[in-house]
């Protein structure tokens, strides 16, 4: 698991500040997980495609940021100028393919699993399976941190959180305020009826997939900013990201943000209180409890979706 950077689990002294620090750091990281989950949730809820290649796109986004920033010596955040359009196109092309093949929801899972494996192995062949990280002269954010009293937050985590919240909030506003957003929600509720009112499903699907791809680029950049990269982390994201998607309610963008914060805080607390190995247990049991109590997701409104 992409574990939070919490140190000092060896000394068992009870400390309120330690827990507070862990919970807050976990929540900040949860923002990034929510950003990863949002694209997945959107494509599952609206397009009825469980798109595991989303993880591949995030991975590719991260490596592109690493590569471009390292070889051109530019600010890693500026690489978004290249990666967002590139992954927007990649997401759109993939969706075009899914659409042409008319895959069912279950088959999309298998199909995109196959493609994800191809992507991960391709990344591994290009950039090797070793850990890769931007050097500090390229990445000015790597060493900075913000202190509030005795609490310390690395600036990469703060940037990741802020950007994630902005993008998810912006996405939510776009869904509810713009014409395309409304068309999209109508499309998610009933495709046939939406089509009867002149909503072109192909264009909308490709647009949604493109936006999800763009969000993957941002998420990838944020990962490259804060951690060392290795191709097979893509598989390690599965657990926590799907927990966020399911808890947030499939297709519910704001729900993923709340769920991300919750999962982040709880798993980070679990790893401080017990050990990092308990993290998967927390995540998994959260999913099970959520499915038992509220199958439509913890943060879904009643009757929605």
């Amino acid at each position: 698991m992409a574990g939070p950077a919490v140190h000092g689990s060896d000394h068992r002294r009870w400390s309120f500040m330690k827990f507070l620090q862990a919970a807050l750091t976990g929540m900040l990281l949860g923002g990034l997980h929510a950003l990863m989950a949002a694209g997945l949730s959107l494509s599952w809820g609206v397009l009825r495609i469980i798109n595991l290649t989303h993880f591949g796109l995030i991975l590719i986004g991260a490596y592109l940021t690493f590569q471009i920033a390292s070889s051109w010596h530019i600010d890693p955040i500026l690489t978004l100028v290249v990666t967002v359009p590139a992954l927007f196109a990649a997401g759109a092309v993939l969706q075009w393919g899914f659409d042409r093949l008319a895959v069912t929801e279950l088959n999309s899972l298998l199909l995109s699993f196959g493609l994800l494996v191809v992507m991960v192995q391709a990344v591994s062949n290009i950039w090797t399976a070793d850990f890769q990280q931007m050097t500090t002269d390229v990445n000015p954010y790597a060493t900075g941190s913000l202190s509030v009293g005795r609490l310390v937050f690395p600036s990469t985590t703060l940037i990741a959180f802020a950007l994630s919240v902005v993008i998810i909030g912006g996405g939510h506003q776009a869904l509810h305020r713009t014409f395309i957003g409304r068309a999209l929600r109508a499309f998610a509720m009933d495709r046939t009826v939406a089509a009867a009112f002149g909503i072109d499903h192909r264009r909308i699907s490709i647009l949604v997939a493109g936006i999800a791809g763009g969000s993957a680029a941002v998420a990838g950049m944020l990962f490259a900013l804060s951690t060392a990269l290795t191709p097979f982390t893509a598989f390690e994201w599965f657990g926590i990201v799907f927990a966020v998607v399911i808890l947030g309610g499939i297709g519910n963008v704001v729900g993923t943000l709340l769920a991300g914060l919750l999962v982040g805080a709880l798993s980070s607390l679990a790893s401080v209180i017990h050990s990092p190995a308990t993290e998967p247990f927390v995540v998994f049991s959260l999913i099970v409890v959520a499915l038992l109590v509220r199958p439509q997701g913890l943060f879904a409104r009643a009757g929605g979706h």
């Binding site: 899972l109 191809v118 499915l291 038992l292 199958p295 009643a302």
Partner: protein, 675 residues
Amino acid sequence: MRAGRSAFTTGLWAFPLATAGLAVLSLYRESLGLQVSHLSLLTLVLIGTIQATSWNILSGFSGYFSFGQAAYLGTGAYTTAVLYGRHGVSFYLTIAVAAGLCAVLALAIGGLAFRLRSLRGEIFALLTLAVPFILGALARTSRAIDGGQGIPLAVPSFPAQIGLFQDFLYLVSLLVAAGAVWAAFAIIYSRSGWALAAIRDAENVAEGLGVATFQYKLLALVASAVIGGVGGSVFALYIGFVTVESVFNLNFPLFVIVMSVLGGRTHWLGPVIGAILVVLLQNRLASSHFESWQLIILGGILAILIAVAPDGLMSGVRRRPWPVLGVLLGTTLILWLARAPGQPLDWILIGMLVAAAVAVWPGRRRRAQSIAPAEPVDVEPSSPRSSAPATAGSPPFVSTPTGAPASASPTSESTPLTPAAPQATPAAPATAAVLVECRKVARYFGGVHALEDVTLRIHEREIVGLVGPNGSGKTTLISLLCGSLRPTRGHILVAGHDTRALAPHRVAHAGIARTYQIPQPFASMTVRDNVAMAVMFGRVPSRLTQARARAEQHMELVGLGHLAGALPSALNLHQRQLLEIARALAAEPKVLLLDEALAGLNPAEIDSAVEVVRRVHRAGTAIVIVEHLLRVVNQLATRVVVLDRGTVLADGAPRTVMSDPAVIQAYLGRSGARA
């Protein structure tokens, strides 16, 4: 799909023969001139076969995809590693322990996951993805299991006449693989196979017909887990050094899924073919230094197969067995004679790949499939969407002053609410036995009150017409009666049993069967077998041959006899709706619930369907018919119940109900009364 008993009895002697034949390869290895490396390759094929078959029994047969195959493999491997490798328990005993542990694990997963009524296949797939991660983390951190260094295994003792350790490993794998394939074979040719196929095609329908879906899914899961666990024990011996990375990784599920999907998910032999092809491909790629491309190729194969030939090779092989075999042998032989570069294994692989291409080549089959499935879409606009939760929130009939039902039927417009003259005499409710009783039933969906305080009885030999505007709760009531929904408040008694206390498939056995507004046939079965399914899993379970014979009668009754051998995709809408009725009848219900079984039919088809309903009624079945065409209701019903906004507005003889001012208001709008 499945041939019948003859194939099963053939299997009884074919399996031991095939197993013995393969065992000979090892026992007379030296005289056959087989190298040990070839034997190891075969062992790998067998280990792949075990795992792929294990995956297929759950995911292929029942349609519940699992990404958690590594959970069983890892549990089995670590059981053997810890008990045999560390504590010196007999290797053979650890196999049994591994099987037991995996069965417990499967019961825990299935008991939890399959109890969730909201669980969809996708969620199950994602849940199973998490299990190997958790078990892996457990193994890595727990010192009692692994603790992070891995566990070496010594070679166990075996009879000396077997030969080398490789021979022993091959024979053990062979035995387990043969057992696994035989189990898959036995499952698919038994009742369980039919039940699982029905679950894969349409789970709700299967449950409504009396299939104990929970039990069968759990059975498949446990069988899959036990095979996977035993395979894990053998795998531990094969790798000789068990680490978390080697058994709880994600490559493994990929290989297994590719094998099954490549071979064919619905056939017992599919995983075997897939395992042979994938292992051979992997071996050849590795030996030609393309190792880093291995996963790319396998992932690509999976993606392309799902897109192009989701049925896998097996269905292609069954379609044209001789061309495929001919191409396989021919290509290999030509390469051999031409002394092509490479080894014999390369030639065999090329032969297999060419044969696979022949098997999945689309040919003429495509056209027949692409016509039919579009039909149900046409129905939707004309069939009022009264499927409860969605439309309960939509504007009620008030906004359409003419009322949908009246406009749907031209005949009822002229004489809107008076019954047609020749009226079946209402059955005297006082004397007939009560079959179904609703006592103050309420059902809410979140804040939406779909039904409120519904009290009614259904007697023997009645035809109850259940009418009401869109969103009035008709379909919700049907779903409550057949047990697929539970009432929020109140009780429903079927033949004296409270449905709350019964599993949905038991409600079917208590004497309720329903049809669906949009027909949901079991797509992989012929019309005859669709109906036979309902007989097999009815109140009195019966064998396939008897069930097929009984099915003929039901098909004759609805007039589908001439289509017995057709697949549902070849049927038109009317025929599909008749199939729904025949299948529901085959469950031999006391009360048959027809949910808009006539929606979208043309007048001639409606008349023939009405005749079918009459025949069913004459045979002694009580009927509840939801229908918007008042002409039909008037022709058929001995009693009419009017629902409006979730409550019973009127209940009585058609003539009196239809002239009730409240009912006329409900249908023709309230403007006169309210404004």
